[in-house]
Subunit: 436 residues, 2 copies
């Protein structure tokens, strides 16, 4: 075992360290470890580290990055510093980075690596192998496919290394390449790229510009990050807040509260409608206080069933299992699910009220009508919660927003008001002439 600080130690301590301690720790890593460590940091941290370095050190490390990582760093540093970062690079590296900067970060173009193995159609397999070996000099640890381009950089075909290595040495590349190729346009959203690669079991996919020139490849290891980030974003939104841009422990209190307060306040304003709805039934509550006892139970059941439905649909949408065209089929399924779930809760509710009545005489003379009011309302509210929860993501997507904004708390708030209306109307019908 050697005495260097291990990258793992530094990673474990990282969130708790000050900027100075981070820099100290980074410098204590061996050169090889440090390069890997820097490459694995989130782009925002990498930019901060580089920003804090002196010029010579910064140049050294900045040049060690892959072009797409370097471009990410530049996107993270303040506007005024960007050109000074670019000036650290030499051509053709600088030009690669500059062209990557033109892309939106969450498009295929912003995700791609402009370095890939280029082959010509008239090469022999033998020459191609030599040529790949020559190209393997920089930042290519893993070999994906060889891409066959014409003089105008149009993609003609793809050769897998299996085919390249097993073909007779003299066979021409255009005789062994595959010509039916899955490609993506530069502007394709990264989630769509991730889905496409999963569907076709691809480890790398070529990115073409509008004129059909090949500009780079998106590789499967970039997709892992995309998938993690998108899931994080969806989970934060489903929890009823804006997604954080940074890891939890690295997010300042002020930013944390801002990301949460907006939705919390919006939901609070929406939920105030329940106070209005309740005051509409103030007389009923005054005459039959027993009705008020079940209000939290009723509203939460609607919210919980809605939360289930919305989580299911949002995840199915994110995975591409469900598209907007499926809404009608899903509505049918969810109505049946909601009815069944509502009947189950209604039965439990009925048993609970009758049992408590037998044991403690809690609910007065008209307990059976009260129990019926609660049970019938539950069927209606759970069914409605399920419908609202499953359809809200479709409505939000149709309006052009991210369906994950149909958070569990959002659905619960929607369902609460309507749940109260259902409950008090059922109760009015059931208890007229007795309690009301």
């Amino acid at each position: 075992m050697d005495q260097e600080l291990s990258a793992q130690d530094l990673r474990d301590a990282w969130p708790a360290l000050s900027s100075e301690e981070r820099m100290e720790g980074f410098r204590a890593l061996g050169a090889e470890n440090a390069e890997v460590f820097l490459g694995a940091l989130p782009a925002s941290d990498r930019a901060k580290m580089l920003g804090a370095m002196k010029n010579g050190e910064r140049k050294l490390w900045f040049r060690s990055l892959a072009p797409d990582d370097a471009a990410d760093v530049i996107q993270q540093v303040p506007e005024g510093l960007r050109s000074s970062f670019l000036a650290l690079l030499e051509d053709p590296f600088r030009r690669e980075v500059q062209s990557l900067l033109a892309y939106a970060e969450d498009h295929a173009g912003g995700l791609m690596n402009p370095r890939f193995a280029r082959l010509r159609p008239d090469m022999s397999a033998e020459d191609a192998i030599l040529y790949v070996r020559k190209q393997a000099n920089d930042k290519v640890e893993t070999l994906y496919y060889g891409y066959v381009l014409d003089q105008g950089q149009h993609l003609l075909g793809v050769v897998s290394y299996r085919d390249l290595f097993t073909a007779p040495a003299s066979s021409r590349i255009d005789s062994i390449m595959k010509t039916r190729i899955v490609t993506v346009p530069e502007q394709m959203d990264q989630e769509a790229v991730a889905r496409l690669m999963a569907d076709h079991n691809l480890k790398a996919v070529p990115v073409l510009d509008d004129q059909g020139h090949m500009r780079g490849i998106v590789t499967i290891d970039d997709i892992v990050d995309v998938v993690q980030r998108e899931a994080t974003e969806d989970i934060h939104k489903l929890g009823g807040m804006e997604a954080l841009d940074t890891p939890y422990l690295q997010t300042g209190l002020g930013q944390m509260v801002r990301k949460r307060a907006g939705w919390l306040a919006a939901l609070f304003l929406g939920e105030m409608l329940t106070a209005s709805a309740m005051s509409h039934y103030e007389n009923e509550i005054a005459r039959a206080v027993v009705l008020a006892l079940f209000v939290p139970l009723i509203t939460s059941s609607g919210g919980n069933s809605g939360s289930q439905a919305t989580s299911l649909i949002i995840r199915a949408m994110a995975l591409g299992e469900v598209t907007i065209r499926d809404w009608w089929r899903i509505l049918h399924r969810e109505i049946r699910s909601g009815l069944l779930l509502g009947l189950i809760l209604a039965a439990i509710g009925m048993v609970r009220i009758l049992l408590w009545q037998a044991l403690f005489h809690t609910y007065g003379q008209h307990y059976f009508r009260v129990a019926l009011s609660v049970s019938i309302s539950l069927v209606g509210i759970v069914t409605w919660g399920t419908i609202a929860g499953s359809m809200l993501p479709f409505v939000i997507r149709r309006l052009g927003f991210d369906p994950a904004s149909a958070s569990a708390p959002f659905v619960a708030t929607l369902v609460d008001v309507s749940g109260l209306l259902i409950y008090f109307n059922v109760a009015q019908a059931m208890l007229r002439g007795t309690l009301l």
Copy 2:
């Protein structure tokens, strides 16, 4: 464009097709397309397709799978059919599959591919390249690293292709290999493997058994599936249900209701405590019906703030940003966040009640004390919801369960009862001698 059914068309239609239509569609694909299509199907669908084929066809397609995919299929078919599937394979493929079947599906061993490029330490770089070419004959489209093993299959080092291709032809492999290697044990959980690979920026990681023999590699493309599956599981659990094993549209109504009814009923039983809590304050409600009006507003604010906190913490845990040791730091942060958020809602609530009073005289003579009761309760409830939501995942993990079971609805249910106690106690203190 050729006339074959495209794999994309079939994929789009897939969820809506019957088993017969699926088979028909699959047979209409060209052979090459069909192989890719089969490889990209979820293991359960692949097993169903193969199960429905005649023996000759089944043998053909089953043999076309990678060993880890074939093992997944066998795990999906009914117990009684497994040996007949294994019998379709020839050695050494069968032995590879059999040894994979010994592993749990969600461990590194169950995820790994037993085929990787093996090198010897005393080879020259030139020989190694030739040797890799020879090994590239089956199922190796993408080249990850070359693994240097001794006679006893112990891992001595790793060579990247960049280093292999750029080294002088005569240099010995043990002079160019890296010897500080990140490896994983066979039993490591797949989520931990995913995190490790992300931390070290690895595209493949070697899997070692207890004796230090190298058994296979886990590659980054398998990790994409792991990451997607784990995120789906967490999102379903966060929504307050058991995770589905199959895509939404392919899950039968019965199974769907079972996965949802358990938690929904449990939460319903828990929520019944609110009815008990409310009946404890029945006299107060009878005397001051105005108190009942704000019950849904109060309880939902606690639930929403808890939902935010629990989503944040569960995701941070899943990403390894937060471990169980951090609970104390997080408690501190969340208390401060909760207080701030509570104060914001309290201010909004106060304005709303005073405004409605000025406009509609809704809340009677003692409206200011009512407003104070609501606002003070909100600070307490939002703070408490935030604390409960952030700490529940730690408690659940400490008890040995999946922290994602600390779903938003679970937290909301927990917080509802305590929220009512806070509210009515604050109201008793504020309204004593006036309304109560």
